[in-house]
């Protein structure tokens, strides 16, 4: 036995073998490729075909993009530099980027829209990220007036007197809230309107004459380019969500008059193309207004775009409301919450969470729809691309402008999309 044992000892290992690397076909890039790209003959063929298509696209566009000219003064100079070879002429962007971004905004005031954009992000931050101190929301509430003053300028007392209307409404609500809730709501609506109609003008004029403060006024027809897309898009987005929520709630309401009004508004606006609303804003409204009234075209467009987006938003949110189990409503009732408290504390947080993809979808759609204003002659980036081509230096430029404009829009739309994914992950409370 001992012999046998001695013999086995000779070839039985006394130590563990070092763990070997897995075979090369089962690890790293090769494994990933086998599993994801070449996992069967059909997938292999599809992979190869896709690679071929990507290669063909790159071979067609790549040299043109790489061989681009950035510093020429005109298309003819570009062609001279390229000397017959195929290449992009991005010099038009070098020459006119400021126009594509700001339109004809006076160059010495470019800091104003830039500052307004930076402050916009500051104002949005507490809304987007709950970790930030809630005190910042005060700035968010003030931002519309600050932003307006930065962009348009004029007397500083105009936005101040407009803001005071809201303050007056809030004060009226607080004072009467102790007496009667319904009365307080009416007062909160009526007081600002009365202030704006009767007192705001005089207040503005009085303070402007006593203390003329403010940035230089910039007319609306100087606005253009991406600035106009952002103004219309941001105002439309931030106004359409609250209005959409109210419309959605109105549509669910038991009050027959309110419900009918909301249904008619939603269905009418959804049934009409945006282009029609824009034409109405730019042309039809002028027939009803007294001639000489300078009702700003950008303002008219913002109103129409907001109405349009609100109708869609209302339906998206109604979808979220419909997806909530009835038990949630009943639970709210059982807790003895009144209508608004139930909405604020129980229904809306859940309904809005469900609707996030739809809401962001509407936002992105709205932002891209702002390019439709080109049809009513506002010089948004697309409209400016026409104007730039009308310059004999750049007549004949085509793709370069669209690539630049597309990139600008992509940055913002992609940002919104990523944020909505972050929000969905953060709010995810179920265990599906």
């Amino acid at each position: 036995m001992s012999d046998t044992h001695a013999q086995t000892v000779a070839y039985v290992r006394s130590t563990m073998i070092e763990a070997a690397d897995p075979p090369s076909s089962q690890t790293g890039a090769i494994k990933w490729m086998r599993e994801n790209l070449f996992s069967g003959w059909l997938n292999t063929v599809l992979t190869l075909m896709s690679l071929l298509i990507i290669w063909m696209a790159l071979a067609a566009v790549g040299p043109w993009l790489l061989n681009s000219v950035w510093t020429a003064g005109s298309l003819a100079e570009c062609r001279a530099v390229l000397d017959g070879t195929s290449g992009a002429c991005f010099s038009v962007i070098t020459d006119r980027w400021h126009q594509l971004l700001f339109g004809f905004y006076p160059p010495e005031f470019y800091w104003r829209p830039v500052l307004a954009l930076i402050l916009l992000f500051v104002a949005l931050a507490p809304v987007l990220f709950t970790a930030l101190p809630r005190k910042l929301l005060i700035f968010t509430a003030l931002y519309p007036f600050v932003g307006y003053h930065l962009l348009w300028g004029g007397s500083v007392w105009f936005p101040v007197s407009a803001a005071l209307g809201f303050v007056a409404g809030f004060v009226a609500y607080k004072l009467l809230g102790k007496v009667n809730n319904l009365l307080a709501i009416f007062a909160a609506i009526l007081t600002p309107v009365l202030w704006w109609v009767f007192a705001a003008g005089a207040f503005d004029a009085a303070l402007s004459s006593v203390m003329p403060l403010g940035l230089e006024f910039v007319r609306s027809d100087r606005f253009g380019g991406f600035l106009i897309s952002l103004i219309i898009g941001v105002s439309g987005i931030s106004l359409s969500l609250p209005i959409g929520i109210l419309l959605a709630l109105g549509r669910q309401s038991d009050m027959i008059f309110l419900k009918t009004v909301c249904v008619v508004v939603i269905e009418f606006i959804r049934g009409v193309p945006l282009i029609t609303l824009l034409f109405t804003a730019s042309l039809l409204l002028n027939y009803f207004l007294p001639p000489g009234t300078a009702f700003d075209l950008i303002l008219r467009v913002i109103i129409m775009v907001t109405l349009f987006a609100s109708a869609y938003m209302a339906e998206v949110i109604r979808g979220g409301l419909a997806a909530l189990p009835k038990g949630q409503y009943e639970a709210a009732d059982a807790l003895g919450l009144d209508y608004w408290k139930a909405q604020r504390l129980i229904i809306m947080p859940q309904a809005l969470k469900i609707s996030i993809p739809g809401i962001v979808n509407t936002f992105i759609g709205l932002f891209k729809d702002t390019t439709l204003v080109v049809f009513i002659g506002l010089l948004d980036p697309i409209g400016l691309s026409n104007a730039i081509r009308a310059d004999t230096n750049w007549n004949g430029i085509y793709w370069e402008l669209f690539i630049f404009i597309g990139l600008l829009f992509f940055i913002f739309c992609f940002g919104m999309s990523r944020y909505s994914m972050y929000l969905e992950r953060k709010l995810k409370t179920d265990h599906r």
């Binding site: 027809d221 039809l284 001639p291 009513i376 104007a387 009308a390 310059d391 004999t392 004949g396």
Partner: protein, 339 residues
Amino acid sequence: MKKTVFVGAFAATALVSGLAHAQSTLEQVQSRGELICGSNTGQAGFGAPDANGVWQGFDVGFCRALAAAVLGDSNAVSFVPLTSQTRFSALNSGEVDVLARNTTWTFVRDVDLSMTFVGTNYYDGQGFMVTRDLGVSSALELDGATVCIETGTTTELNLADYFRVNGMSYEPVPVDTAAEAQQQYLAGACDVYTTDVSALASSRASFAEPGDHVILPEVVSKEPLGPVVRHGDDQWADIVQWTLFALIAAEELGVTSANVEELKAGSNNPEINRLLGTEGGLGSMFGLDDDWAARAIAAVGNYGELFASTIGDQTPIGLARGLNAQWTQGGLLYAPPFR
């Protein structure tokens, strides 16, 4: 209660608008201190903003002349870019005071759309451009061709008329803008690109190889382009019309932006004196002062100078005067006498 307020507000609006309607266009422009001119969204040479946002071009120049005549300042104009779909509604609704935007004078537009065409500042016509490789030398050889055509314009209708009259067939490739048309044509999506000859010339000048393309000799339509005002304000129509005539007459009489100040002091030619306001008192007859024409000419030059500086053969657009020469030079420009 609410209803009464609404009705009251509506009545007040109607009243205010009624009162304001009573104000003539001239009074509106003067009280505003600014002329609002409906312009192109961008057409090379005729009207487009330059790199600094200053509007330039042939039609734009006319608006500046009008502003100089009415307000004494050629920069007191605000240009509203209008598309071919919105231009007439914008004029009719009072959004603009005058439309100077490559608009063809037609019966329906003049009568049915209630426009007043005050004259013609550019005589255009529709032509065809083809690649030299196609080997076509006349539009009559275009049977069966694919044609790039901008929708919603008179050129679309003219094209159908021309091919029907000559018993030919064609396949339209509808496009929306001139830039798109150029791309389609250069990419070979259509054999023929048709639009006004002036636009064809400026398109061809922008191509990498202009020599590879020919503009066929046939001009298949009449396109008298001119400034337009609303029906119903004859005083304003007269002012716009005679400002145009003043520019044309100034060229005929040899008045230029360079010598207008000198000639204003008085000259031996009584017609020049009446034009420039030293005799006759013409301007006060339609509510302006007598220097109106002198100011317009000083601002942009006479018709020939304006043409040469914006679209003439020394510019990249490179248009010859052709039909747009004075009647004494074999063209169609013919201003009625200033007396």
